[in-house]
Amino acid sequence: MDRDTRTQEVWSALGTVTDPEIDESVTSLDFVTSAQIQPGNKVRIEFRLPTYWCAPNFAFLMASDMRDAVTELPWVEKVTVELLDHFSANLINRGVALKQDFRDAFPGETDDDLSAIRLKFLGKAFERRQELLIRHLLANGRDPAWITAVSLRELMSLPLEAEGVRLRNLYVFSRRRNHCGEEGFAFTTVDGSPLDSSGFRTYLRKVTGVRRNAEYNGFICRGLLAARNAALSS
């Protein structure tokens, strides 16, 4: 496999890692500043977040997810992930290199790992993607009664235009990660409970709020990162 192909594979692997808050990939957010293949099939990844103050727990999650995603490539021997210009960079980089659990990487700061917060944000991603798909379906003539009753199977076989297919793929992927099952209603709450059409508007308002927060983060983070990178390069 030539170097370009391997580099391409690394970037694709990094593209599967998302910022849990924004629910977008670390590559499309431009967090990853370099991915280099070094002699001996060692990979070195550097990334920078929008601020020096970004929450260390999310930084740690992203760094370990990047390490794991790239490690899965069969030819990769070793992965180094380095977070740049961050107040906790040393602890995070060391913890990720040693494959430490978060609580060991930050001794004395917490007695819990990050599984609960990871689950919480997987749930938020589910709701955000669901809201986008529901709004798309509503705009294309479906009503709440249909949406609350449609099965996953029917949704999958529904003819949709390109944007609808994109939103459906995103939603279904997230639905699977939240273990909502491969059968039954297409649209449920994140715990798998069915939606009822009388409470539909209230539910939609709630998940819209989740999407709105992610959008705020996306806007602020992109803007700050662009300004930060411009300042660093000048």
Partner: protein, 344 residues
């Protein structure tokens, strides 16, 4: 004072401003540098034509403030919500003495709030009481993300915070501006959690909790809390800055706030010097809720609603009689502000 196209005069209270010194000379360490650098990145979310040189941004003067906030920024009254950040800056990022000296020059225009930090314990309580009496504070700004030795933040529900809230009650300081920025601790939890506001507001019903930046990015949690607690207010600082690059999104947030809190509990703030109030006020006064937001929330930005957000709500919290204050300021109102306002 902002004058609408139809000639209506709007009394403006800028609920969130600063005088700071983030310059290298005042920076204690790398964190001080990174802090002001991060603010400067936020500064770039505003219009390009309002970008300041870095040196001015790091330390602007009292004269800059008068020009930007009062002469060009339409504010009749403005509130200081200081951040101390003693671990990052030698003399503090905001300096209470400097704020007070400025307030004494503009006693009818400036409200200088104080601050406290529960981690200062018994000693701090005494210092706070002395300062509050000396400066006649009507409000405080609480910055829960502030570093303090080994601690990287605190919560409004910490037992010592309750002691300070009780002291606020005793001293008649009823306006508690809470910055809900990313707090670091506990590290495994959601850094933007706003639940502690709920507990504090329920316990201290006679204090007003103005949540700056409306809890973003936890807007829905904030709205849920604010809908239940009548003493919780939405501070629009930072949110207003979205109006320039993301007007529809700004409309969505404002629509939610109007829906859940109503027009009486929303306070305008520019967060000067991060952004210049001039463009924020002008864009806000020309802003209408997008059709889809208006349809979904059933709300609209009437003149009455704008008056409340831009000044009447803050006036109520700070016991300002607008008619009376107008008279006091009338003669000294800079001619330039009137002229600029008339052109809009």
């Amino acid at each position: 004072m902002f004058t609408t196209k139809s000639g209506e005069k709007i009394f403006v209270i800028d609920g969130h401003t600063h005088l700071w010194d983030g310059s290298p000379a005042n920076q204690r360490n790398i964190h001080g540098k990174q802090f002001i650098d991060c603010f400067y990145d936020y500064h770039h979310l505003g219009p390009d034509s309002y970008i300041w040189p870095k040196e001015k941004f790091e330390r602007y003067t009292e004269e800059d403030y008068v020009k930007d906030v009062f002469e060009e920024g339409y504010a009749d009254v403005a509130i200081f919500n200081p951040q101390y950040l003693g671990d990052f800056y030698h003399d503090g990022f905001s300096n209470l003495k400097r704020n007070e000296a400025f307030r004494q020059q503009h006693p009818d225009r400036i409200i200088a709030n104080g601050f406290w930090d529960p981690r200062n314990g018994e000693n701090g309580l005494e210092v706070f009481e002395n300062d509050a009496k000396a400066y006649n504070w009507k409000g405080v700004k609480l910055y829960t993300a502030e570093w303090h030795g080994d601690s990287k933040g605190w919560k409004l529900t910490d037992p010592w915070a309750y002691r300070y809230f009780e002291k606020c009650q005793e001293l008649g300081i009823k306006n508690i501006h809470v910055h809900k920025g990313p707090t670091i601790r506990p590290l495994n939890k959601d850094a933007f959690d706003v639940e502690d506001v709920d507990d504090a507001a329920t316990t201290f019903t006679d204090l007003n909790f103005i949540v700056e930046h409306v809890g973003l990015p936890r807007l829905e949690d904030f709205c849920y809390i604010a809908a239940q607690e009548p003493n919780v207010y939405a501070g629009l600082a930072v949110v207003t800055a979205l109006i320039h690059r993301r007007p529809h999104y700004f409309g969505e947030i404002l629509g939610e706030l109007l829906f859940w809190l109503g027009p009486d509990r929303i306070l305008y703030g520019s967060d000067y010097g991060i952004w210049s109030p001039k463009w924020i006020v002008e864009e806000f006064m020309n802003f209408e809720l997008p059709d889809d937001v208006a349809a979904e929330t059933g709300k609209s930005l009437t003149l009455e609603v704008r008056r409340k957000i831009m000044g009447e709500n803050a006036a109520r919290l700070y016991d300002i009689d607008i008619a009376d204050r107008r008279k006091k300021l009338g003669l000294s109102l800079p001619a330039k502000a009137e002229a600029t306002a008339a052109m809009v």
